[in-house]
């Protein structure tokens, strides 16, 4: 790796850190706009003013926002995510197991959708204008255009209601055998794969088509290269950057998708936890869940950018 690449990568990492701080502050700021006094909410209506004031002091609610932000940040660095308002359990304990569940769901979806989408996107670009290409394009536009919950409800209608192959709800704890596992994950994974692949197919296709119109691909044609050689040896290596970006951006749709899918299928992950926390206005829990999602998203786009930088042949 040359120093030019190293510099660019370091610069990109620095940007990621700055972005992270801004995002954390935004999350903190948004959640502290919550109307009503946290202390009185916590103590209920019967609380005496003295008790409320005491709690406010104890929770440092009277400090300026920036100070509370810094204290919260310090806590995060020590792995202290705070205590849930709703059931007074440490947030870390509430999140722990559910985080693993969500990662499993996201992981399986990624393993399925990335190869699927890349294959479809690249082949559609190769056969541009064919019936196959137009079918892929129309279906992916359709999927992108409808809300995730609709893809999910359609999947339920098809697989659970008409075909009766799969249960409509997930419950990870009852998984005893492989078939159980498939039945539990199938529905959420199918839904998520659809949602994410559609985006990825479109972007991959566009990236490959753009490189296919470059002069060096025309040059390959004039050397007598076959269509597959033009795509695989000349277009793809140069479309790598945009494709990685497409993958990362589409995977970030996982975040949105997961929120809907976990709720619909009653899947015990952090997204479901967070939606419930929003309903009960459980501040520390919302903050922590939001932070985890933002971190994941930021991680994805940073990695994608770094791969794109490193795959740029001009920087070699």
């Amino acid at each position: 790796m040359t120093s030019g690449v190293l510099n660019l990568v370091l610069k990109r990492l620095a940007i990621a850190v700055v972005t992270l701080l801004i995002v954390l502050f935004a999350v903190f700021f948004a959640t502290s706009m919550l109307p009503g006094d946290t202390a009185s909410i916590l103590l209920g209506q019967a609380a005496t003013p003295e008790a409320v004031a005491g709690l406010r002091d104890a929770m440092h609610l009277n400090d300026p926002a920036i100070l509370r932000f810094l204290r919260w940040l310090l806590g995060l660095l020590h792995g202290d995510l705070g205590t849930s308002y709703a059931n007074e359990m440490p947030v870390a304990a509430l999140i722990g197991g559910r985080f693993v569940n969500t990662m499993k769901l996201a992981g399986i979806t990624t393993l399925l959708s990335v190869p699927l989408a890349l294959t479809l996107g690249i082949t559609a670009a190769m056969l541009r204008g064919s019936l196959y290409d137009r079918t892929v394009t129309i279906v992916s536009i359709g999927v992108i255009s409808v809300p995730e919950f609709m893809v999910a409800t359609l999947a339920v209608l098809l697989f659970a209601v008409y075909l009766k192959w799969l249960p409509a709800l997930s419950s990870v704890n009852e998984a005893h055998s492989l078939t159980d596992l498939v039945r539990i994950y199938a529905m959420p994974v199918i839904t998520l794969t659809f949602v994410i692949s559609a985006q990825m197919i479109r972007m991959t296709r566009a990236a490959v088509i753009e490189t296919l119109s470059t002069p060096y691909v025309e040059m390959a044609l004039l050397k007598g290269a076959s269509r597959s050689r033009m795509v695989l040896r000349h277009a793809l290596p140069n479309a790598l950057g945009p494709i990685v970006n497409a993958v990362a951006l589409s995977l970030s749709y996982l975040v949105g998708g997961v929120i809907i899918v976990e709720t619909i299928f009653n899947y015990p992950g952090i997204a479901k936890l967070m939606v419930d926390a929003v309903a009960t206005r459980d501040l520390p829990l919302i903050q922590s869940c939001a932070m985890i999602f933002c971190l994941g998203y930021l991680f994805l786009i940073t990695v994608a950018d770094i791969i794109a930088i490193m795959s740029n042949p001009r920087l070699r």
Binding site: Y216, M219, P313
Partner: protein
């Protein structure tokens, strides 16, 4: 069949944006004998590249070969299946593109791409192909022939890439090589090396060639025969000597006439030439970080001084990267100077345009090379020309409209063009609108930055004539920046030669042949002449070339 290539009644259609079919090649026929080099010459849009590519059975996306025969070594490329065509591409017929920089895949090494043809068609084992490539690199006088193949395209200069593209074409011993304007993007001193290299390998191998170009002088050096194209039709065909000495077709004569030197009469005005209009002293400008002494690390313009007198023209000439365009931008205040003084019409100018007064801005206008990007595509011509009228002169709607008509008359454009958008104009028309906008400000000095470089020869010489006329009528001064000696000679009273950011020499056009500085000598001697023996007879001091040539 006696000839290597026999094209008969070729027709090619293109589809416009609106879906209309237009015949862009109308009934073209031509022959190429074994080992013969035929030039296709014409302006942009004449169909010369389209015809050349059709020899490979290829039409660019949106175009279609609709009629005629393209016989190459006995096979009709127009009738073959795509698979059959692919078999002869790279083996029988090879292609050298206009911009090798764009035609090399950036993510693969040069050697891999040079020998790719032998892999695709399984012509020889890779080891042998690499050896052959190195031989070709030597024959094309490329530096470091053993090592250059391991590099990536972006690590090699434009002139070298162009020769590497020729090696890529020649590796399979083709019968016919198509050169698509292969030296157009190069500087003149580099162009000579590339031309010489092409000529010697083609001659040594007895390979037939098609040389597509808009430049008659370049073509004269390399072609046996010339085919003149215009509007998708063959205008005239003949041996190089015939075309150069006894052209029959009026269009060919026009092309030739554009080469005639039209020296400018010396100024008769007693008044002009006495007072300096613009004087710049020791101006330095550049890019990158600023050092402790206030000067930038990378200097594009290094301590340059010049004087432009009222009613006189100064030409600035030099090759790409010599700092001539930066100099223009420094004078106009677009790129602020780091050091030095600019005095315009007796008053010291601020270095950045933003701090100059509106009157100062009005009196000095700049016209750019590419009219495509210099005119806002979203506005009709009248809006473009009338903006300076409203901005500087506060004319009302009616007065503006009248003045737009006058300005269109001045630049010899029909008044009805005022309602058109730039995309609906030809290259020459756009450049005239571009110039009319500068005139609308009623300036004293117009800085012309390569304004004829993007135009066809015939159109460019018409624009130069117009500029001269307007100067006589309006008493303007021009700073004329160009890489093209003939353009500068035609219009300027003085010529400043720049090299590597510095002023090398200041001479008058009549003294060009007697230039004293070695770089000026090299530069001026590198401009191709219409004489077909020019390149072979050219003797250059190798020491000079290695000192100043841009490889």
């Amino acid at each position: 069949m006696s000839n290597l290539v026999e094209v008969r009644n070729l027709k090619i259609e293109a589809k416009t944006d609106a879906g209309r079919l237009v015949e862009i090649i109308k009934d073209v026929s031509l022959d190429i004998a074994d080992g013969e080099i035929v030039a296709l010459i014409g302006e942009s849009g004449s169909g010369k590249t389209t015809v050349a590519l059709s020899l490979m059975g290829y039409a660019r996306p949106g175009c279609r070969i609709t009629g005629g025969e393209i016989n190459v070594s006995g096979r009709n490329m127009a009738a073959l299946s795509e698979k059959e065509r692919a078999k002869s591409r790279g083996t029988d017929i090879a292609y050298v593109p206009q911009s090798a920089a764009a035609a090399f895949n950036p993510s693969s090494t040069i050697m891999e791409q040079v020998i790719e043809v032998t892999r695709i068609h399984k012509l020889m084992p890779p080891e042998q192909a690499r050896k052959r490539a190195v031989e070709l690199f030597k024959a094309l006088s490329l530096p470091d022939p053993e090592g250059i193949g391991a590099r990536y395209p972006h690590q090699v200069s434009g002139g070298q890439l162009q020769r590497l593209a020729a090696a890529m074409a020649l590796i399979s011993d083709p019968k016919l090589v198509i050169f698509d304007e292969p030296t157009t993007a190069l500087d003149v001193t580099t162009q000579i090396d590339v031309l010489k290299a092409f000529k010697s390998v083609m001659r040594a191998g007895g390979v037939a060639g098609v040389y597509v170009s808009h430049d008659l002088a370049v073509v004269a050096q390399i072609a046996d025969r010339i085919v003149v194209l215009k509007g998708g039709e063959v205008q005239e065909t003949g041996t190089t000597a015939q075309i150069l000495s006894a052209a029959r077709h009026p269009y060919t004569r026009e092309l030739l006439a554009a080469f005639e030197p039209k020296p400018r009469q010396a100024h008769a005005d007693a008044d002009a030439g006495t007072k300096p209009l613009l004087r710049i002293d020791n101006v330095t400008a550049g890019y990158g970080a600023v050092r402790a002494d206030g000067l930038p690390v990378i200097r594009a313009v290094n301590s340059v001084s010049l004087v432009v007198e009222k009613g006189r023209n100064l030409g600035v000439i030099g090759e790409s990267g010599c700092g001539k365009s930066t100099l223009a931008r420094v004078i106009a205040g677009i790129h602020p100077a780091a050091a030095g003084d600019i005095v315009f019409d007796g008053r010291e100018l601020e270095r950045t345009a933003r701090k100059r007064s509106q009157e100062q801005l009005r009196e000095m206008q700049i016209v750019f090379q590419y009219a495509d990007t210099a005119l806002n595509p979203a506005k009709p011509v009248e809006d473009i020309i009338s903006r300076p009228l409203a901005f500087y002169h506060r004319l009302d709607r009616q007065a503006r409209s009248k003045r737009v008509d006058e300005l269109l008359d001045m630049v010899r454009l029909p008044r009805t063009l005022r309602y058109r958008h730039p995309s609906e104009l030809s290259g020459g028309q756009k450049q005239r609108v571009n110039f009319a906008r500068a005139l609308a400000a009623h300036p004293k000095l117009i800085i012309c930055d390569e304004i004829t470089s993007a135009l066809d020869t015939v159109v460019a010489s018409a624009v130069i004539e117009l500029l001269k006329e307007l100067q006589r009528e309006l008493g303007l001064s021009y700073i004329f920046i160009s890489h093209d000696l003939s353009v500068v000679e035609a219009i300027c009273d003085e010529i400043m030669v720049m090299y590597n950011g510095e002023r090398v020499e200041l001479i008058t056009p009549d003294k060009v042949k007697a230039s004293t500085h070695p770089y000026s000598k090299l530069l001026f001697s590198s401009v191709p002449k219409l004489d077909p023996t020019w390149l072979d007879g050219l003797v250059r001091d190798p020491e000079l070339v290695s000192r100043y040539g841009h490889r």
